[in-house]
Symmetry: C2
Subunit: 158 residues, 2 copies
């Protein structure tokens, strides 16, 4: 079991950054399809995907949104944050085996309501911008350490 | 295997609507955590969640974004769409057993680039607004029917 660090609003500063990375596996695509019901064949059917401009199965665009959300919940501000809004522009597809790195940058702080505005960029391992946007989050009033639950163990039937 | 209907840009009209529903299970939360790595205990740890204003585990906010994405990919415009952008405001949490219904409404059409602007609202079974936002999508040039892959079969270990 690992630990998650909550950053109190008062400990955040403009330009502060945090990052979060994950490599996309075929299993991740299957899990995203299962949890959302999004069975678009461009993600799940290699024969269909070969007929598209992408030529091979690509990850769901909103999987990148899920990574941004994970970055906010586990890195900055961390647990206790309340997610208010997110914008995302999808720039380039992510393929299986690619590593997406989310970079968060604090761009605004409104102390009265503890509202943090966070610039969000997602790049792949070659530095290609996959997605960008902005998050609005209510940061925790107090910092602290929270035990992180273990990742659920899941099995995908082939 | 079911079918997905792609709607060509030329067959879309202003105010056209489509909807998509899914009931949130504890398994869906586990799958979203596994695919994103978001182990925020407010979603996965009932003891921790009981200490929060929500009192019980809630779904990931971005799971609602995943449903919006699924609605666009499988309902309107359907397969062949290219997801360009999404904004989301998170209004209320979703709890296990709640049914989220995404309603999509065409709000803008730019024929030169086949760009469709879509208003997105997500309500629960009691009509409470959970999330809202706007999507920008390049619609397919041609309509048609695509075989939908089966949902991946996944097992969550308890």
């Amino acid at each position: 079991m690992s630990q998650l660090h909550a950053i109190a609003f008062g400990d955040l500063s403009l330009e502060q950054q945090a990052s979060y990375s994950k490599t996309l596996s075929a299993e991740d695509i299957a899990l995203f399809a299962a949890t959302s019901g999004d069975v678009n064949p461009v993600h799940l059917d290699a024969a269909y995907a070969s007929t598209t401009p992408f030529q091979e199965p690509i990850g769901h665009g909103m999987w990148l949104g899920a990574l941004v959300s994970a970055a906010i919940a586990t890195r900055m501000p961390g647990p206790g944050s309340v997610y208010r809004a997110q914008s995302l522009q999808f720039k380039q597809p992510i393929k299986v085996g690619d590593t997406a790195t989310v970079t968060l940058t604090v761009t605004g702080l409104k102390p009265r309501v503890r509202l943090v505005t966070i610039g969000c960029e997602v790049h792949n391992q070659d530095g290609v911008l996959l997605a960008k946007g902005e998050a609005e989050v209510i940061a925790p009033a107090e910092g602290g350490v929270v035990q992180a639950p273990d990742l659920p163990k899941v099995t995908v039937e082939r």
